[in-house]
Each structure stands twice: as C-alpha cells, then as structure tokens.
Subunit: 390 residues, 2 copies
C-alpha cells in the first residue's frame, strides 16, 4: 500500500512502521507473532454513525439526527479548552485562541487589564467510578485574576467580543449580534447542588468559545377520544425571522432566560409565542427529558454544544395555539404522517427534528422492531457533553 | 511538586517535562509564553460524574446510575478489540487475549483448526459527518478463515469457552455456565438494514469477551382514575435465583431470545413471568426507548456492555400480576415513595434502577427543576456503546 493511500484510508496519524508495530504488539503472547504475518484489518464503518447516501433517497431518521449532532468535541484535539475554576466550560478553535491572546497583549499595551490568560490544564479524562483516569496536560484559556466575579467576567468577555466585532475579526457570527445575553454556567464544587451562573455573554458570541446553550422545547398535541389518533401542533416560523425564516418549528421553543429554572422559561414562552394561558400550561404540561448534542457549523467550524429540555403538553381539542409575538406565522395541527414527510423533506428547523423524534419514540410511534437505526437515534439524542449547566 | 504527588494527581501519563510543554504550546501565539510563567490548573472533577460520598448519606440518584454504568471501554486502552468483518464487537482484557492466543497454539499442536487469530486493526475513531477521524492501528482478535459462518463460529467459540471451563482458567464467570446461548450481532454492510446474528455464545462466557447483551424491561403500572396517583408493579425475585436472589426487580424483564425482535421477547416474558395474557399485553404495551451502559465487574474487571429495550404497560386496576414460572416470589403494587426508598436502600437489582429512573423521568416525576443531577442521569442512561445489535 502506498503512503498516500495509507493516509487516505488510515488518516495521517496511522502507525504502520515496523518499530511502531513492535511496540503495539508487545503486550501479549509473542508466540504467534514471530513466525507469522499479522493481517491488517480496516474498520469498515462505525456501526453507530453510518449515513445512507444512496442517490435519490430521502434521508433516514438517523441522517436527520446527524444534521444536528455532527461533532465530538472531546475527541477533537484541535480545540482549546476554556477553563473556569478547574472545569472545562468551552471549546475554542485555534484562531479564536489566538485572537484571545492577541486581545490580552493589546489590552496590556493600552494600559487596560487583560481579560483572558493562558494556562496549562491537567485533564482527568472521563473520571468515573472506579476511575479510569488517564490524565493529560494541555493548553487552555481562562479569566485573569482581575475578572473573578460574574459581573466582572460578563463585562470583560463581552468587551472582548465587542472589540472583535468592531475590528470585524469574526463577522460570522458577530455580525448577527443580538444584544441578548446567554448564561454560561460554572461548576458548584458541592456535589448535588445547583450550578452557579459564571457570567453572561452576548448570544452571537457563544459559538466562538464553544459554550453550551440551553433551551426549552415543547410538543403540544391532541389525542382523539374516539380513534386515539395523535396530532401535533406545528408552527411555521415568520418569514421575517433572522434565522430559519419560514421553517416549521416545535410547538413552543426558546432559550432559557438567565436565572430561570427551565420550567419557568417554558411557561413564559407558551404565553408569548402561542398565546397559551399559564394556568392551562401548568395544568397539563410535563417535563419528559433532556436532549443534548454538538453541532459544528458547516462554514466556519464553530462548536455549538446544545441542550434542550423537552416537555409534553397534551391538550383538549378546544384549546387552539395562536401566534402572538410575531415569531410565528401560523399554527397547524398535523398528523404524524405529515410530520414524517416534512421532517424528511427538510422543512423543519434542524434541531426541532430531534425533539419530534424523541416524542415519537417515547410515545411508541418509532419502535426498535420497525426502525433499524432505533438504538443509534436514541443514544445520539443524549450525548454526554460534560459541560456544567443550570 | 514531587513526582509521586504529580502521579497521584495527574496519573502516570501526565506530561510535565519542559520539552513536552514546548511541544504542547507550540500551536498558538508565543508572545505571552516567552516572558511569563504559565500556571498549571488541575481539573477539579468531571462535571458529569461526581459522586456524593459524604459520610452517612444515602446515595443520590446519579450514584445509583453509576452502580451500573461504571466504565468507558472505548477510552480503556488496556482492552483488545474483538473484530468481525471490520467492526469491533467486543472488548478483551489482556488475560483473555492471551488465553485466546494460547488456545489457538494448543489447537494447532493437537492438529485441530485454531478458532481465533490475531490481526492488526485500523480504527476510525468516532466516524461522524463530517468525519473527525483520527485513526490508529492496534492489536485485535478475530475468527480464523475456517470459522466463517454463524454455525462454525458458534461451535468454535463455545468450544474455546468449554476448554477454558474444563481447565478452570476463568472460574469466574465460567463456573456459572447456564447452557443458554446469547446472540452476538455483526454489522450489516447495507446501511439501514437489520444486523445479522454473527454467532451465539454461552451466556456465562459473554463477559470474558466484552460482548454486548440485550434485554427487555417492562414497567407495569396503574393510574388511579380519581386521584391520578401512579403505582408500579414490583416483583421480588425468588430466593433461589442464582443471581440477585430476593432483590426487587422490574415488573417483567428478560434477555432477548436469539432471533426474536425485542417485542416478541417482551410479550413472551410477560406470559411466563407475570402470567399476563398476550392479548392484554399487546393491547396496552408501548415501547418507549432503549437504555445502554457499560458495567465493569468489580472483582474480575470483565466488561459487560448492556442494552435494555424499555416498555410501559399501563394496566386497569383489575389486572393483577402473578408469579408463574418460579422466577418471582411475589408481586407488590408500590407507590413512587416506596420505590424511591427501596432504590436508595439498594433493595433493587442494580440495572432495574436505570429502568425505573427512566420511567420516572419520562412521566415527569423526576424533573430538572428539582433534581440537580437530571441531565447527567439522562445522558448516562443512554451511553453510545458503538457495538452492533439486533
């Protein structure tokens, strides 16, 4: 096999030299090794992550999951950890890391306190009980001592992002500046206690640092008392929205407002987006799980770990969802067949599909017996992001 | 810091020499590096995996999850892959790998065809779309060419296990020989199609090879039409069972019989274990998800990746579960408070707790607002095992 083909098949990290093989095979009995040729077997595919790319086919349900969950940041050694109080809270691509260092150098030059500083970070990989820790030390970024409170960190890091915005260093995503602050969480050193908000950051800047964002997604549905048929309330997003205009969405969805418990944000969004009275919501709503995945943006490669708390809202037939705040163009009550069709046609905002798949699985409409990708879909809706949250 | 403390804190792989640091820090701007001391920060804990070990406390719900999910086999480089048709299907501890090689050498010496052979395996780590593959070549084990059919593999590998059993090489687990064959799955090269049974293996031998096992677990429950109170049918296992005698269990549970779809095994177990007629089960039962985790046995360190397909069975008050085949001593209809108490007291068979936690989450009885470990519990009930299944 030529080197170029070996690199193509194995990646440039592949170790094929004879000295490497000796090291690799030193662990076990050498009796078979010495006299015989050891065959090299190539992994054909990862059983959990295959895409059906046959020409002309509509995407499978698993393909739809991979539209959102398309990266494993903990395995991507090109990313630099953002560390706070000894815990990783974000993933920086190399050019953001460089921009952080540059900003601190510039701040010092103009006599202002630098916001960020480089550290070495001794990571305990996947601490578990009993521990299988194999630690490594890597480069990381954190706040300087001057920025030690939530207020100081908020003003400091938003200042960094604002300087980048003005210098147009990262126009994607900073040209989409919203003036809306997202909460970034630290780790409460006391196990079993709620994590504190470490600071808040402009929503458009979160992707640069690979900070996790947290949302609430609700599926409102009706069940026919006569036929048992289930229908789901599906809004079409306003054509004037800055993101995903005109796409279909979950019944109600939004970001978790800093300081809210998830349910508080959920009830408020129901009122604001779908004109549902809080008394109706609180009577029928049920939290039913939480989804997590990691999206790497296709153009710039920004890392977006996302968490969606999911809710079911079974409604009597007389309750109707209605647009209120201009985010939604109109609501439709859709059959499950319509929903499958629109999902496969790409008519839904991508991450809303995850919530619908989870809903269809929990309600027994997607089953292991009929859907070959069942187990893969379920595990990949619940990726362990290993980042602190609310 | 002394070397011994460094090893304690960082593990023996930690890289602290100055030459390593130079390499580690070469990727980004060196302007800060040259003049300044770079602080070393220690990761305090993995935010997803902390145990509350305060003295005298009952375990948290997350602790209960970690009773079952206590290992990450893909991060454990001491394990050797069992490979079939280019896909990893198992994890071998070093002494099992050595015993496999020894068996092949012995077979050849007595003129019999060796069942297993060593290969090198070029792994695509976590292939995903778009790929982040960093490949590595490692030692692995697979079948010899003579054992190329499901029948030949079944007879060959059970022969290996039988020889070990007779030689008492691995009395734990082989002294627990059951005479019951479990199905081990290969990968169907056609995406979106069901995987074939690659071979079958004595149940007690599966743990030696780290093969995944597949079960079905059902929660039968009643909801009071007047108060809405939910109660769950909980069996106590017979005191004569070889595993977990006298412990509490899920309403109905069992292994998936080779060749069955999960639902077929579930309906059969309901009839055999709880005397529930298949017509009643089929009318009310709903598949609601699948759990997956990896258990490393505490004494021997065998790797047991396990998958549990989960079902809900809401029942009218007049339907009563009754012991039938001697596996169950008696059934109780328990309140949720009783269930929490018995779970925390360790009265349940460990993996049944996972099914109950998932049930309580899906039904809105454990919520993110009240349970700080909520997100960690959900992700760790759905670990991506990356092994083919039915």
């Amino acid at each position: 096999m030529s080197n170029s083909i070996a690199n193509l098949v194995l990646g440039s990290d592949a170790k094929l030299s004879s000295s490497d093989n000796e090291v690799i095979f030193s662990a076990t009995s050498s009796r078979v090794l010495k006299g015989e040729e050891i065959e090299l077997v190539y992994e054909v595919a990862d059983p959990e992550r295959r895409l059906d790319t046959s020409a002309g086919k509509l995407p499978s349900l698993l393909d739809l999951v991979h539209q959102c969950h398309n990266h494993e940041p903990w395995l991507d050694t090109s990313l630099t950890p953002f560390v706070l109080d000894g815990v990783q809270i974000g993933f920086l691509p190399a050019r953001v890391m460089k921009a952080c260092i540059d900003d601190s150098v510039n701040q010092r030059r103009v006599g202002a306190p630098p916001v960020l500083r480089q550290v070495r970070f001794a990571m305990n990989h996947r601490e578990i009980v009993p521990p299988t820790a194999t630690s490594r030390v890597c480069e990381a970024i954190t706040f300087t001592a001057e920025f030690g409170t939530p207020e100081a960190r908020t003003s400091g890091l938003n200042g960094v992002a604002q300087r980048w915005r003005e210098a147009r260093i990262f126009p994607d995503p900073l040209d989409g500046w919203r003036g809306e602050l997202y909460a970034i969480y630290g780790l409460n050193p006391q196990p079993g206690c709620r994590n504190p908000i470490a600071f808040k950051l402009e929503r458009a800047a979160c992707a640069l640092f690979g900070f996790a964002t947290f949302g609430v997604h609700l599926t409102a549905y009706t069940v026919s008392p006569t036929t048992g048929e289930l229908k789901v309330w599906v809004p079409q997003r306003s054509s004037t929205k800055s993101t995903w205009p005109g796409y279909l969405d979950n019944s109600v969805a939004g970001g978790i407002v800093a300081g809210d418990l998830p349910m508080e944000s959920m009830v408020r969004e129901c009122e604001e987006e779908a004109n549902l009275e809080s008394s109706v919501v609180e009577k029928h709503v049920k939290q039913v799980g939480v989804l997590s995945y990691c999206y790497k943006t296709r153009k710039q490669g920004w890392i977006q770990p996302e968490v969606e708390y999911v809710y079911d809202l079974p409604l009597p037939a007389h309750v109707v969802l209605q647009p209120k705040d201009g985010e939604v163009d109109h609501f439709n009550l859709m059959t499950l067949d319509e929903i499958y069709e629109k999902m496969r046609e790409g008519r839904f905002k991508a991450n809303c599909v995850l919530v619908l798949l989870d809903f269809l699985i929990r309600h027994g409409h997607i089953t292991a017996d009929k859907e070959p990708g069942y187990r893969q879909i379920v595990t990949q809706l619940h990726v362990d992001l290993r980042l602190p949250g609310p």
